[in-house]
Structure formats: structure tokens, C-alpha cells
Symmetry: C2
Subunit: 426 residues, 2 copies
């Protein structure tokens, strides 16, 4: 493709995104004023319609699966794509659960009365129009749309091309279900083109889209973070550490280490690096548990000395998110060495200490500069549902707006309401 045609294509895609965004923003102004009860009804309607449209969604999904087989996608990829009766029921139930979440829009954050009589309230309002960019799991279409609407936001969804037919069917069902409760059709829009330039146009749409949330693998998140002119809520890596302090209860340390690594290795809160205090007495049993559970352990020289099954870690290992049955292990001399290792190699996601010494625990909590810092718990708890936030849109490791699990609160902003009785400024 030459530059001229590429530019004209970019322009058309940019125009499309701007047109969709404008329509979404108009719809959002109506959605922002809908009551808690109206939004609840709308989301319940969406869940019902997902169940009603089950055959339609399954037929659409069959097209995607057929295309995936033809394209030679891996079994794991096809499994991610695949919907069945149970999965559609689960998807609808998830929407029902979001419907039941408390409405934060209009909630007062704080109130101050000034000496001159002015009363200042900060109240939560929706952010506006969000862009969700995701990959092959069609359930994101329903999950993300429901969360956005619950917080009064419009959303522009851009799913993976593998799931395009499934996404269209799910999107259509949700829009139908919400329309009966008065949600404007343009409040939830699915990008009508699979043109890859559309993602670039969304990322560039500052002033049209208020925030982008990427949902998917590292290459998607990296691309979004690198190219976006719109604020992005995301995390790139989850290089989570667990530090076993010398005063850790050995049984607790073993249980937490195995759970943090092995419960589910593919989630961002999974432990990737284990730091063992040189003075911890139970290190042999601890590494034995991990090795016996089928985990590959890559260690420094001192970790290798603990169990001969520990293989040598390379410098690269300390900065690697395995998302697999692999862990890197370093033996460290005390709290300061542990926090220095985390500062040098961590990704500011979730880091944990196991210790029976409260003073050491508090020092770790204060010193470690991550979105989530834990004491005596498995890092696998790093999850909006486990935090009691209901569904999460993602986990953010940036430092502005929202940090850690981002749920409804992170999908709102606030405005100041100032009530006076004629005050003028001296």
C-alpha cells in the first residue's frame, strides 16, 4: 500500500471513530441521567436477552469456531472463543451480578461548608465514553459493556476479529435488552469494522474517547500504552514477589508460596519471584513443595544450594512474568535486600511478605511501592472480586486515577457542586 492510500484509509477510519464517538457521547448524556433503578432494569434486560438469544449467539459462535479451525488456531485459542449453553448462562449471570452492584453515580464523596456559607459537595459522575480494546474472549463484550453502563458510561467496544460474529450477536442482544429500559442504542457500540487501523484511530481519539482499557495479552497492552493519546488504564506486567521473612511461620510460608504460584499460573497476580530470607529455617521444605507440585524453580547460587533440583536463573529471569509453572528464587539477606530487589525488578502490581513480625510487616507495607502490598496472604487474591469490589474492568499499575483492581469506582470521576445564596468573591 502506498502512503497516499494508507493516509486516505486512516482518514476514513478516524472519521468513523469520531462519528461513533460523537454518537456515544450524546447517548452518554442521557445514560448519565438515568436512575439507579433504570440502569438496574436495563442490565437485567440485557441478561435476559442474552439467555433468550442463546441460539442466535451459538450460531454466530459456530461461524467463529469454524473460521478458527480453518485458520489453524491452537486448541487453547479455540477454547477461549467457544461458547456453549453453560458459558452463555454464566455470561448472563455475570451481567445480572453487575446489575445488582450499587450505583455510585450521584454518590457524595465529601461536603464542606465554607465560612462564607458556600456548601461544596463532591459527587461521583460517570467518566463519559470509554474505549475497550480486547482479544478473542467474547465474554468481554458482555462484561465490559455491563460495567460501563452500570457506572453511567457509554462504551465503544473493539473485540478481536476471531470473535467477530460472537461479539456481534452478544452486542445485539445486550443493546436490545437495554433498549426496553430506555438505554439509547449508541450507549454501547461495537466497532463495525475489523480494520486494524480502527484500533489506532481509537488510541488517537483524544477529546472523543475519555479513557481506553485494553483487555488482553502483553502485546496488546504494550501497543496500547505505546501509541495511545487517550488516557489508558492498564497493567503491562504482573511480576509479583513473595518475600519469606526469617520470622515467617514455616507452614504458612509453604502454603502461601505454593498457592501464590500454582493455584492459577496464568493470572497477573500469580507469584513470579520468591525471595527467601537467608535466615528462614524452612527453605528446604518450601522449595521442595514447589518442586513437588511440578514447578520449575530457577534460582541464584544460594537457592540452588537448597535443593539440587533448582536450576540456575539467568539475569533475565528476575524481570520475567512467566505466567506458567516456573518461578525464580533469590535468597536475600533481610528486609532491605528484599525490598531493594522488588524495587529493582517489580512491576508495581502485587508484592507480599510472609512474617510473624508485625513491625517488619508494617515496614514492608510502607516501603514497597506497588498498587497492592500484602502481608501473610497469597498474591492470587489480587482481584476485584476478592477485594469485594464486584466485577473488575482490570488491574492498573499506573499512578493516576485508579490503582490496583479497577471496578465501578474507577469508572467514575467527580464534579464539584457549589451551593450559595448570593455570595460574591471579595
Amino acid at each position: 500500500m502506498n502512503n497516499a492510500s494508507e493516509n486516505s484509509e486512516k482518514t476514513a477510519t478516524t472519521a468513523l471513530v469520531e462519528r461513533l464517538a460523537k454518537a456515544g457521547r450524546i447517548a452518554q448524556r442521557k445514560l448519565a441521567r438515568m436512575s439507579d433503578a433504570e440502569k438496574t432494569l436495563a442490565l437485567q434486560g440485557a441478561a435476559d436477552e442474552l439467555r433468550t438469544a442463546k441460539d442466535e449467539i451459538l450460531a454466530a459462535n459456530a461461524l467463529d469456531i469454524e473460521a478458527a479451525h480453518k485458520a489453524g488456531l491452537s486448541g487453547a485459542m479455540v477454547d477461549r472463543l467457544t461458547l456453549d449453553d453453560a458459558r452463555i448462562n454464566a455470561l448472563a449471570s455475570a451481567v445480572d451480578q453487575v446489575a445488582a452492584l450499587p450505583d455510585l453515580v450521584g454518590q457524595r464523596i465529601d461536603r464542606v461548608q465554607r465560612p462564607n456559607g458556600l456548601i461544596l459537595d463532591r459527587v461521583r459522575v460517570p467518566i463519559g465514553l470509554l474505549g475497550i480494546i480486547y482479544e478473542s474472549r467474547p465474554n468481554v463484550t458482555a462484561d465490559a459493556a455491563a460495567l460501563c453502563v452500570r457506572a453511567g458510561n457509554a462504551v465503544l467496544l473493539r473485540g478481536g476479529s476471531d470473535a467477530i460474529n460472537s461479539n456481534r450477536a452478544i452486542h445485539a442482544a445486550m443493546v436490545r435488552g437495554m433498549a426496553t429500559a430506555g438505554v439509547p442504542q449508541d450507549a454501547v457500540q461495537l466497532m463495525p469494522t475489523q480494520d486494524r487501523a480502527a484500533v489506532g484511530a481509537m488510541l488517537a481519539a483524544a477529546g472523543y474517547i475519555d479513557m481506553i482499557v485494553p483487555r488482553g495479552g502483553k502485546s496488546l497492552v504494550a501497543r496500547v500504552q505505546a501509541d495511545a493519546r487517550v488516557p489508558v488504564l492498564a497493567h503491562l506486567d504482573g511480576i509479583c514477589h513473595t518475600y519469606i521473612h526469617h520470622a515467617a511461620d514455616p507452614q504458612m510460608a509453604r502454603a502461601i508460596a505454593v498457592n501464590a504460584k500454582m493455584r492459577r499460573t496464568g493470572i497477573c497476580g500469580a507469584m513470579e519471584t520468591l525471595l527467601i530470607d537467608a535466615a528462614f529455617p524452612g527453605s528446604h521444605e518450601l522449595l521442595g513443595d514447589l518442586l513437588d507440585a511440578g514447578c520449575e524453580v530457577r534460582g541464584d547460587a544460594r537457592a540452588q544450594a537448597i535443593d539440587r533440583r533448582v536450576v540456575a536463573a539467568s539475569a533475565h529471569d528476575w524481570d520475567t512474568e512467566y505466567l506458567d509453572t516456573v518461578v525464580s528464587v533469590a535468597v536475600v539477606d533481610g528486609l532491605e535486600a528484599a525490598t531493594a530487589h522488588i524495587a529493582a525488578h517489580g512491576s508495581h502490581h502485587t508484592d507480599a511478605i510472609v512474617t510473624a513480625d508485625d513491625a517488619v510487616a508494617e515496614e514492608f507495607l510502607a516501603e514497597v511501592d506497588s498498587a497492592i502490598v500484602m502481608v501473610n496472604a497469597s498474591s492470587q487474591f489480587a482481584d476485584g472480586g476478592e477485594f469485594g469490589l464486584g466485577a473488575e474492568i482490570g488491574i492498573a499499575t499506573g499512578r493516576l486515577h485508579a490503582r490496583g483492581p479497577v471496578a465501578l469506582e474507577g469508572l467514575t470521576t467527580y464534579k464539584w457542586l457549589v451551593r450559595g445564596n448570593g455570595q460574591v468573591r471579595p
Copy 2:
């Protein structure tokens, strides 16, 4: 300059910014752990040293003023630059006032105990390293540095070249004053070069600088917003509206309109557009007050019919922030027309209604999508000090992180502290 030398210059400037940022981030880790009392002492030390170094600062300022005269700067520009005994005292007092502000770092936002016994706290922590880019007022050097340090942040300051000698003297005094209380020197850094590429390098320093705050005129803010890869907290325009509802108390309406426009025309909270309800009975007196106060009134046809001194507004006027003794006036038919005008032409900064009808007031508060929405008060109150927040770093009209006047809270983020007693995730 050819491309090759421009690129190599960019590279050197980028390397400089990265080196300063790394040093700042190391200093910030220490600053983040300093106690309330230590930071208070440090800022009091900075204020004292500003007073002690008065002669040195005045001598440096004299160099800037001499250069400004040689460069033919306007009287207003020279006045902005000029320091004297009283202005240095005021500057030091402002730092003392910031020293006295409550420390938010470590403050608990909320706490939840989960059914599994995990205790989750969100506590405020500093953001990290901030970049402040400003123009010719040397007081920003002291104000911004003090606010950043109060919230535990390191800061990289980039002032205007007009004030370079003054800024260096103020910066040196503050660093000396804070060092006695243990604040690392690199916690507050002043960009050592006046090379314009340094601003570009700061704006591009994602991952090094956590947030940029521009302080200055519209062209500076526009450039920062257009080019930054680092999150920016700012507002570009303050096109503030006051809507006089038909049920407004006429005396109150007159007092608020004149104050909102004329008290200080150059601040971002000054009214730029007056919307008068067609059914408001006091419009003749209202416009008369503004005209008599020396304000140029540019109106639509119906506003021109109210007073023959009203000149015709052009389409451009409705989107103009005058920052001067000029106001645009439209006569509107009711609340909906008023809010539609604000939605079409506002800048989401501050918009106000004057009305004695509470239901109408509440409807206006809910419908207008601005950072600050006021009832029966002058928009000139849009100010962190007037909001009781202490000093402000600026007013933000973006939708993420902080909105409206941004003071200490907006200079913090939070982290999640999770305390368990051995919980593993099922």
C-alpha cells in the same frame, strides 16, 4: 540546523531529563518515607531560607529585569518578573502556609474486612516525580516545589528563561532550607538548561516523570497537552457561563454577574458568557450594571434589544475566553436552552446558575457536565483557596484523577494494603 544535529541534540537533552528524573525518583523514595513533622520542618526551613537569602534573590532578579528591559519586554511582563522585599516575604509566607497544611500521605481512605478475614486498606501515597512547566512568574518555583514536597513528591521544575536567575536563586534557597531537615537535594530539581528541547524531553519522559502540570498561558498549556506522553493535569480554557434564570432574585443576579465578570477578569474562573432567561424581568438593569462598570457587552439580537450599548456578537464570541473586560450575552428560552448552550460552548471548567427555584437549581447541577457547577454564587470562587483546599497546583478540566481545583489530594495516589493471617485463595 540539519536533522542530524537536531537529533543528536534531542538525544542529549533526553539523556539529561532521564538522568535528572532517575535522581529525582531516588530522592522521592526517601521523601515518601519522611514523617509529617519532618516535612513540615523542611518547608519551614525553606521559607526561612527564602527570607535569609533575600538579597541574593533580589540580586538575581535584578539580572532578569535588566535582561527583560534589554529584550524590550512589556511593562506587564516585567512586572510579573519583578520581585521586591514584600513579594519575597509573601512567597516565603506561602511556603509556610503549605508547611502548615495537613499531611495526607499515609491517610487511610477506606478499610474493608473480607469474609475470609483479609483486611484491606487504601492509604494515600505520593504520586512520585512531577514535572512543572511554567512561564515568567518566579513565585511558581517556590509554590510548586512546596506543594510537591508537602505531598511527598519529587519535582523537576522548568521555568521560563526570562526568570532563570531568579528561579535559580529561589530554588537554591529552598533546597538549602530543606536539606537541614533531611530532604535530599534531588527531591527538588530545577532544569539546568534553558534549551527549549528540554520541555519536549520532559513531555516525552513517560516512565520517568509521573505527571506534568503546566502553569502558564494558553499556548503553553496547548503545547503541553498536544505533545505530552506523560499524563497532564491542566485546563486549557475557562469559558465560564452564568445563567440568570427567570426566577433569579434580580439584586442577587446583578451582584453575581458583575462580580463574576469584573472582580478579576484575568483568572480562569471569570465569567465569559452570560445567559439571560428571556423571562427574567431584570435584564435591563443587569446589562446596565456590566456596561456601567466598563465592560464591553457582545450580544445576540435579543441581548442587543435590551440595551443599545450592546454590540453584536459574532459566532466566534461564544467560544472565546476573553480574560478581559468583555462578556458575551445570549438570551435563552429556559433551562434546557441554557444547558444546551453550555454543552455546546463550555470548557467544562465552572458554570453557574442564579435562581430562587431549588428544583431548577438541582436540575442545573445534575445536567451541567463541568468540573465545578455553582448555584447562586460567583464563578470567581473557582479556586483551591476559596474551596478550603489550601494552595492549589492548578485547576483541571480533564475527567481522570482529579477535577476542578487540584491541591494536595490531587498530588497523591493510593495503594492497597492487605493484611492476612495465612489466607490462600481457594
